[in-house]
Symmetry: C2
Amino acid sequence: MPTERESGRGRLSREIVLTTALALVDREGLDALSMRKLAGELGVEPMALYHYAENKDALLDGLVELMFDETHQALDAGPEETGVRAEMHRIALAFYRAANTHPQVLPLVVSRLLTVPLVRRPAPVLRLPERVLARLAAEGVDGPSAIRAYRACSAWALGFAIIDLRAVVDAPDETDPGFRLGLHRLRKDYPMLRSLAPVMAEGGGEPEFLAGLDALLDGLGIIDED
Amino acid sequence: MPTERESGRGRLSREIVLTTALALVDREGLDALSMRKLAGELGVEPMALYHYAENKDALLDGLVELMFDETHQALDAGPEETGVRAEMHRIALAFYRAANTHPQVLPLVVSRLLTVPLVRRPAPVLRLPERVLARLAAEGVDGPSAIRAYRACSAWALGFAIIDLRAVVDAPDETDPGFRLGLHRLRKDYPMLRSLAPVMAEGGGEPEFLAGLDALLDGLGIIDED
DNA sequence: CCTGTATAAGTACGTCGTAAATGTACGAGA
DNA sequence: TCTCGTACATTTACGACGTACTTATACAGG
């Protein structure tokens, strides 16, 4: 006798489909995600997925949504900080960690930002700027300044997540045949890069992330009042 | 009698293939780029392209390469600035402008950064950090500090380019049927976003980009000596 | 003029996203 | 308890894609 998950109705749900897709992407990369493969992983025929995502693009949107959801879950789990600065740290860190957990999703975030108009973005994606702007407004920051601050923080968080993740990939676990050739080219044509590559491979991590964020907030005059 | 470009040998070259591909992507978006379509645009059979790009991924790498090349061309066209700060502005701006010229390539940049190990990145991609690091070293900045500065500048340039380009897409040229519905949702659930959307749609542009860059450099203590 | 080599074209295969039609199991009302 | 509408899953099929493998062509050097 088959369990509920194994036969008939109710085997799938939007959440199951999306989380399985996200796991697949985290594990094997974006290119490995196909409707057929995902269906196979769920023990289902490909077309069944189209009840939960209008098409593949919508499914990819769902992955972005999931990453932002994770950010909000982390934020909702703890209490809001009292200082603006501390709260901005908390929000940015939540996003940064979600991004680090699902690096493969970042290219999707980028292409969606460039493509999907604000008005029809998924709720969790909109909720993040709303959260930031509301907090800044509560602190007495005027509209244009708040927008500038939000823009700076999101640009920094996204950019730093991308750049710093690179460090993982640059780590010297390189065993490919073309490696030594590449190293030689590096030594010859890019001496600075060559000598600093080990430092670069370490990555900045959260301290450097927060330091940059603080520098930006300083520049914008977003400072705790006391 | 057919011209040289129209028959026989020498119709194609890596440069022709790549620039045509880039034009196609700029015009119709990443998804519209297929080997077959590109070949059609070049008046050639699809397989001919494989003499200039090992496969489609390599062709996409070529697009990133082209964007960085454009950055270097802009930089090589003018004289180096004497102050570090001014030179960092010049370099970052060159990149920012190239990114704005080819927004569709940004998702590719991101996925390559996350995927391709440093050692085998295209020359123009390596040349940019080399340029920055060399300049900082010349100014007496030590290795780890230079890396931090480079990381901050590249994260900011990439992130701000992505975030600020979004403004274009968010502009209120929305004529879709679902628009008013979306607007209503916005008003109800995201009041801050709703009221600040017009400000947001304007984008920060180059002044805001440079202001953020300065804030980061200030935070790192990268200051002209005089 | 001939020939080798660089380049383009042709053919073919497996995979992809997904439209359309068909089948199936559950839950509510008789 | 039965039945039937509806929500869900499957089947089948198509065109487009990336690209391996094979064949044709045109130029350059001997």
